[in-house]
Symmetry: C2
Subunit: 482 residues, 2 copies
């Protein structure tokens, strides 16, 4: 750390402590400062930089709270081991699509899944884990309630009511190891076989991971076209589907927020027949940048027609494997008959940790921090894209952590991806999220690709602001001219 | 602790430190010594009892290692908070069957599931958890391999080969959140629907929890009679089943170990048709009291016909929700097609903890300790039962943690359960494990109950030796005479 030379800009709008924090963070990321190394004491650094000690302390605290640096009492601040900081969580889909070689080629990846590198609340999580383990009574090691522990379900019900306008009792909540598992359980609860064949409608394009799960679970699928508001209700009505899977808070991949009118139309559709249900995937609902938050569809449902799915994957980390499903009361008898026999899939320890994380306000504070981080990245993206108005228009920018670019300079989706790739930047084509694409792959038959839009998805959750700046600069160059 | 009066028997075969340990443990359990209380220093207690300090130290160390007592440096030994020590993990089945009021009525419960109260390796688990959390890199918080992490699968493969004679590569292993989840996943992999309807054969009586899961998963079920060796292969052949679920290491509830000849017959049955598979549930295989351990059925399978299921529920704790399935290579293409889309259900943190627990020898040492504890309880049970030879005969005593009693004095199963209940002791009737029982409940129709044996199950895992002694004494009295 002898050669540490920070140049501070006292006229910048960025506070001094943030400049110091940002500089050291980048040094750690670039491995200019190595894991295990000690940072200069705040006294030394403050006198060296001619700033107050509290400014340096603030910067150090920020680094500690984000897990870059560890404070060891009486010894100082040490850089933590942070492996593979740049390669972030991707879906299986993405993993399968790319070869190991590919991964190495990309200097920047606009992944549409994963969380920000500084996103996991390391310190709070470790602290609560230690407490839970220390307090661990024998009860913690017994098999628990198949729906999840009461305490956690209460905390989730309170959060959902307060933050998402969801109306439910803790008894309606089922905690499970990830959304895919909950869809599996739901398929058991709804039943199947010749006598009870269910047909699931999904928007097109859509979240292919859920689509594939439904196919594997033996559901018949219907792909419904979208307009600017989302799933087209007329087409849904004609499709014969009895289940409709929607993402009103933030449709994936199109990124739109479903307006109230369409929500009401969907609820009416569901109310028309006894066996109809809406499956509301509220993924990404935590992050909005424009307008007032819209409550979940479930909150407007007076007839018990919405099955609500939520997850901690995006809000905390994909690895923690805790999701939840809110079943309407009318489905309860079926769950009691078919679902209750399947033991809980999340360990009591993990349930306890997340319960405390929610109850003691860590979750809300963490979400606020994430929102601020993503808002910063979002605004930066939008600023960069402003300078690219001759190249593309933007959509899906009001929520979530990705945007869609529609080229106006004649560039095709394929060509745009190829050019980015040659420049070492990974972007994602909209094409892969159309279900025809999958059907064509599976059956070898051609399908109507006429309705398909062309666009490129840029996810910014896993990128640093510096990376966004650099990558967008390059993209602007390679996407200019045709 | 002033009134602590331990009377040691220096002529006993039980070592002095064990007498001290046992006495204090019982005092803690009876809440004579309360959580938070400090034990006398080993110097004080050793001079008071006129034993060496190392004897007392040994007793205290035992109490610490089993989580009853915590050692705080420079301050002494303190009693830990141990809640509800007597109400141990039960299956959902048992939970649903009993009312809250019932639970209070029983002073002793011979539960057939759950683990010994001193069974959870608190200290090792806490230690490893702390290490894992301390070392946690960002990678630990990303979504992992849907089959489970490579490191854990390697550790499981090594253990299974060494301890159970299972032949598999780590790639064949799928880690999942409990056996019920793995059965769910298996049903997806095998496929269903009109074109691929599967028929599952189970022994009768059998493990009803798995039976109910299969029913809920939409499988057709066939109940096959048993002889002394287990599932009758002739009847299996005639049943038209393509899947046979067996527990060769320790059939539940009958408790028998399947002899080699029957294992070979089952393997031949499976080899006869392409679509036939055996599902081997190796639950409880860790605990055997007689004869040499018999390797798993999977180890004799040369044709890729065995789907092997194992769990850490009994070996560690029901709450940790980690099981594993070994798929034969021939099922791999189906898994790749239908199963790989479902994300992992166990968090990476938990996977890492159990990996280290296995790799560093904790698991093996823990199993040895459990074996010793269960062997002690088993031998005590057998000793008590020896004095009851006029009342009943015993079966299923060579493995697992429960025995079956067959009354020879004219007592019926129902009457025996009732008399035990009146005396505050919960025992379990064999009747509830016959599938006809379930079918009768469900359909209201009568079924052939003629082949049903009458017997009572006594599980001793969750009982202390003292409780076993007391309860068996009472049972002998209430079951004598007719």
């Amino acid at each position: 750390m002898n050669e540490l030379t920070i140049s501070l800009d006292s006229h910048s709008k960025i506070p001094l402590y943030e400049q110091i924090y940002g500089f050291i963070r980048e040094e750690i990321r670039k491995r200019e400062i190595l894991p295990g190394e000690r940072l200069p004491s705040s006294r030394t650094l403050s006198s060296y930089l001619s700033v107050s000690r509290s400014t340096v302390d603030l910067a150090y605290e920020q680094l500690v709270s984000e897990g870059y640096v560890e404070s060891i009492p009486c010894r100082g601040y040490f850089v933590c081991e942070i492996e593979e900081l740049y390669q972030l969580g991707e879906t299986q889909e993405e993993r399968k699509m790319k070869t190991g070689e590919d991964a190495l080629k990309y200097r920047y990846q606009f992944a549409v899944s994963g969380i920000t590198p500084d996103g996991f609340p390391h310190n709070a999580w470790k602290k609560i884990s230690r407490e839970v383990l220390l307090d661990a009574s024998d009860d913690l090691f017994r098999l628990g309630d198949p729906r999840g522990e009461r305490g956690l379900r209460e905390a989730i019900a309170a959060y959902l009511h307060h933050a998402r306008g969801v109306n439910c009792r803790p008894d309606q909540i089922i905690v499970g190891a990830g959304n895919d598992y909950l869809l599996m359980l739901l398929s058991v609860v709804l039943g199947r076989g010749a006598d009870s064949r269910h047909v699931v409608a999904m928007e097109n394009p859509t979240y292919m991971s859920a689509y594939r799960c439904f196919v594997n679970l033996g559901f018949d699928m219907r792909s419904i076209s979208m307009d600017d508001s989302g799933m087209q209700v007329g087409e849904l009505e004609e499709s014969g589907a009895d289940l409709a899977y929607v993402m009103p808070s933030h449709q994936f991949p199109m990124g739109m927020v479903m307006p109230m009118k369409r929500r009401m139309q969907l609820l009416s559709w569901a109310a028309k027949e006894e066996k109809r249900y809406l499956i509301e995937d509220d993924y990404d609902s935590e992050f909005r940048y424009k307008g007032r938050p819209i409550p979940a569809l479930q909150g407007y449902d007076t007839k018990g027609k919405v099955i609500y799915l939520g997850t901690f994957s995006r809000a905390i980390a994909p690895s923690i494997r805790i999701s939840y499903m809110v079943l309407p009361e009318r489905l309860w008898p079926l769950f009691e008959q078919r679902g209750i026999n399947f033991s809980a899939t999340v360990s009591k320890t993990d349930q306890k940790i997340i319960e405390i994380f929610m109850r003691e306000g860590y979750f809300e504070r963490h979400l606020n921090r994430m929102r601020a981080i993503y808002k910063g990245k979002h605004d930066l993206m939008m600023k960069c894209l402003k300078g690219m108005s001759k190249i593309c228009t933007v959509s899906g920018e009001n929520a979530g952590v990705h945007v869609l670019l529609h080229f106006v300079n004649g560039l095709t989706e394929e060509e745009a991806i190829l050019r980015a790739r040659k420049a070492g930047i990974r972007v994602y084509g909209l094409g892969q999220y159309y279900t025809e694409e999958l059907e064509r792959q599976d059956s070898g038959a051609g399908a109507d690709a006429g309705r398909k839009q062309e666009a490129v998805l840029l996810g910014y959750a896993t990128m640093t602001e510096q990376q966004i700046l650099e990558a967008m600069e390059i993209l602007k160059k390679v996407w200019t001219c045709c």
